[in-house]
């Protein structure tokens, strides 16, 4: 199947020029972007399906000898293209803070405890139906110095490739009903409310496992449409 990449969907994305998020002030380009034709360089991309991503890579609670502290959760979803077709065999990389809101990263200075049983990095490759599944713990909110009393809503960072350079995206998954949404300039940098809410996972009682873990569902839609859509039958 040959894909095309219309630009019409790109309006869902935030602008780099989003001054309420202060790190953008010296980093957002000031010159206009130059419209790039989609050549072979853009419509191709790396393939990781062959890379050995083992089953344990998608269970962030089993990376150490003991179990991490916090609320165990299951995160599942499907990766789809703009037509709603599954994106199979595509790499997903995730990373997150621990239950106390602390990252393993050496530069995280938040005075909350590290958890010796939690790193917070995972990988998965989607199956033939575009499905993925992670087991992890619910990350904590954490403070940052963007403005007075600034706290990030709890989130998991997601990195996806899809079929080409054009479908590449890095985003963040949030949890339903977080009271920090309205105060967070990163979440609010997405100006369209419907687009913003696509980053909020859905509590999923069907996938929740009794006596074990709550589940959240997060579907991801990547750029790309079928170049030759089958004609829909006309209704008369």
């Amino acid at each position: 199947m040959s894909l095309i990449y219309p630009r019409s969907g790109l309006k869902a994305h935030p602008l780099n020029n989003s001054p309420d998020y202060r790190s953008t002030l010296k980093r957002a380009p000031s010159q206009p972007l130059i419209l790039l034709p989609h050549t072979l360089s853009e419509t191709t991309g790396p393939v990781f399906g062959h890379v050995a991503v083992s089953e344990i890579d998608s269970d962030l609670t089993r990376a150490h000898a003991g179990e991490p502290l916090g609320e165990r959760i299951i995160v599942t979803g499907r990766v789809l293209d703009e037509d709603g077709r599954p994106v199979p065999n595509t790499l997903i990389e995730i990373w997150q803070a621990n239950a106390a809101g602390r990252y393993v990263h050496v530069r995280d200075q938040h005075p909350a405890p590290l958890d010796p049983n939690f790193t917070g990095a995972g990988r998965a490759v989607t199956d033939a139906d575009g499905r993925y599944r992670f087991v992890t713990i619910k990350p904590g909110a954490y403070p940052w110095r963007n403005h007075h009393n600034a706290w990030r809503p709890a989130h998991i960072h997601f990195s996806l490739f899809g079929p080409s350079f054009l479908s590449r995206v890095i985003t963040q998954m949030y949890f339903p009903g977080d009271p920090l949404f309205r105060f967070d300039p990163i979440f609010q940098s997405i100006t369209d409310e419907r687009a913003r809410n696509r980053l909020v996972s859905r509590f999923d009682i069907e996938t929740t496992e009794p006596e074990w873990a709550l589940a959240y569902q997060f579907d991801i839609v990547l750029r790309g449409r079928d170049a030759t859509p089958t004609e829909e039958p006309h209704e008369h």
């Binding site: 790190s23 000031s30 790039l36 990252y103 917070g120 696509r198």
Partner: protein, 191 residues
Amino acid sequence: MSTEKPDGLTPSQTIGPFFAYALTPRAYGGSELATEQVAGEGVAGERIRIEGTVLDGDGAPVGDAMIETWQADAEGRFHAAGNAGFTGFGRAETSAEGGFFIETIRPGALPGPNGTTQAPHLTVSVFARGLLIRLATRIYFDDEPGNAQDPVLALVPAERRGTLIAKRGAGGIFRFDIRLQGEDETVFFDA
């Protein structure tokens, strides 16, 4: 299976400052899916090294960026069969001084739109704290005569074209700095 048309794309968010232990985890002892080494031993082509610094609007180094590169092989092919050791994909975290490098082979020329020929280049994504969506740019090479006919360079105002062209210096190393903002700002594309 239902193929209900989705509401729209999943919006981008910043990579943030704390991605390294997952995406470029060498210092954390993690396994890396891709590194600065794009071409393994035995891959045909001229070995090249590209070095650069990512700078912000004040000219200060950006020490928490991730650079990804994507390119054709020496024959201008993507995903060519029988080209073991060459993925075409590179990934580098900037150092505290904003520095990065990529070691690869020089890509070949390849077809462009409307019968044109694209000069050899790498396609680049820049991710960083403070970037809500990745920046797309290209690395061309200053010793390629085909640059003059390249259909993408032709879209760039002449006075800014140089920001897309790596310059060969001491030891044959190509230099390609990425200026996110301000004077001599790198050309970024709306892909």
